[in-house]
Amino acid sequence: MYEAINTISVWAIPAIIVFIPLYAYFKKVPVYESFVDGAKDGFNTAISIIPHLVGMMVAISVFRASGAMELLVNLIRPLVEAVGIPGEVLPLGILRPITGAGSLAFTTDLIQTHGPDSMIGRIASTVQGSTDTTLYVLTVYFGAVGIRNSRYALKVGLISDVVGFLAAVFICLIVFG
């Protein structure tokens, strides 16, 4: 099973990269011109995201460096430990929707401290792999098209993050327990 998944993950991207232009070429598409045309879009998009990302990263950095993040975690900690969630993984649950790089750093730290095959290491791995950085996705996707009123999108994202976090923790406790 692992071998199969490993093979897929190694071959998926090269296969796509070869298949797409080859297929288009046989459909008489001027492939190189098409590529350059689409690629220009990519450059403009990346540039247009900068203000959004800078704004969000500044706020998160301030929140973390001030000790506010710590404070928040300490407040919630007794509550989560009461239902059987190891307190160590809680900051990860809070960080995950906010910052992808930050939560990856935190996961790496947990794996290093407790070991990859410890319960905390497994939970951290599963949480990191399970949910996405909701705030980042929202900022980038809506920022790229200029949406300012995101309606209920953030609420839906955060609710599914909570569900994903709890699911990851309890599935690990059951599977590896």
Partner: protein, 199 residues
């Protein structure tokens, strides 16, 4: 909502910094954060340029339409208000497929492209449409089969079985995706199915 969270991070962060005596660290962190934002965007340039170039070839070659036809039933169910042959569906499908395969780098440009196509159907370009919210919901919770980065980190720290979290990740994402779709439907219903006569 984003306005409030953003303001909360900065104001509450500053207040805490005053009490913890970390005002200087906060100043430094603010500029460091700005730098990270730009660095991440510059990192995105190469990936976006490459994948959007590839995706344009796929689009011109008719591949996206093919994919859209194939997976139409699922997407019809999730995006009932996008016209049947709209190019947005093709991008939504590629975005979903990339996410499922754990190709996060490939998923982002396609998601952005899908958003741009959905924006063409949007009567008010500054307000998100229900379809946009659904796309976002599926993205934030997306089903993952191969969490590549995590497996790599576990290998680094000499795990006896680096891939053992594949199963738990798949289960957790299946649950969170189901939750995202249900919650999205609930909000969509609540927001849009009220009688419109009063307005």
């Amino acid at each position: 909502m984003v306005n409030l969270i953003w303001l909360f991070f900065i104001v509450f962060g500053f207040v805490v910094a005053v009490f913890t005596g970390r005002v200087e660290a906060v100043t430094e962190a603010a500029f460091e954060g700005a730098k990270t934002g730009v660095t991440v965007c510059f990192g995105l340039i190469s990936i976006l340029v490459f994948w959007l170039g590839m995706m344009r070839i796929a689009e011109d070659g008719g591949l996206l339409n093919k994919l859209a036809v194939l997976l139409r039933p699922a997407v019809r169910f999730l995006f009932p208000d996008v016209p049947k042959d709209h190019p947005a569906l093709g991008y939504i499908l590629s975005n979903m497929s990339a996410n499922i395969l754990g190709l996060g780098n490939a998923a982002t440009p396609m998601g952005i492209k899908a958003m741009k196509e959905l924006q063409k159907l949007n009567p008010d370009p500054t307000t998100a449409t229900p379809a946009m919210c659904t796309l976002l919901a599926i993205n934030t919770a997306s089903i993952t089969i191969i969490p590549t980065t995590i497996i790599a980190i576990r290998m680094n720290f000499e795990s006896a079985n680096p891939a053992e979290i594949v199963g738990t990740t798949l289960m957790a994402t299946a649950i969170s995706t189901t939750a995202a779709i249900l919650v999205d439907r609930w909000f969509r219903h609540r927001t849009f199915s009220r009688p419109k006569r009063e307005g």
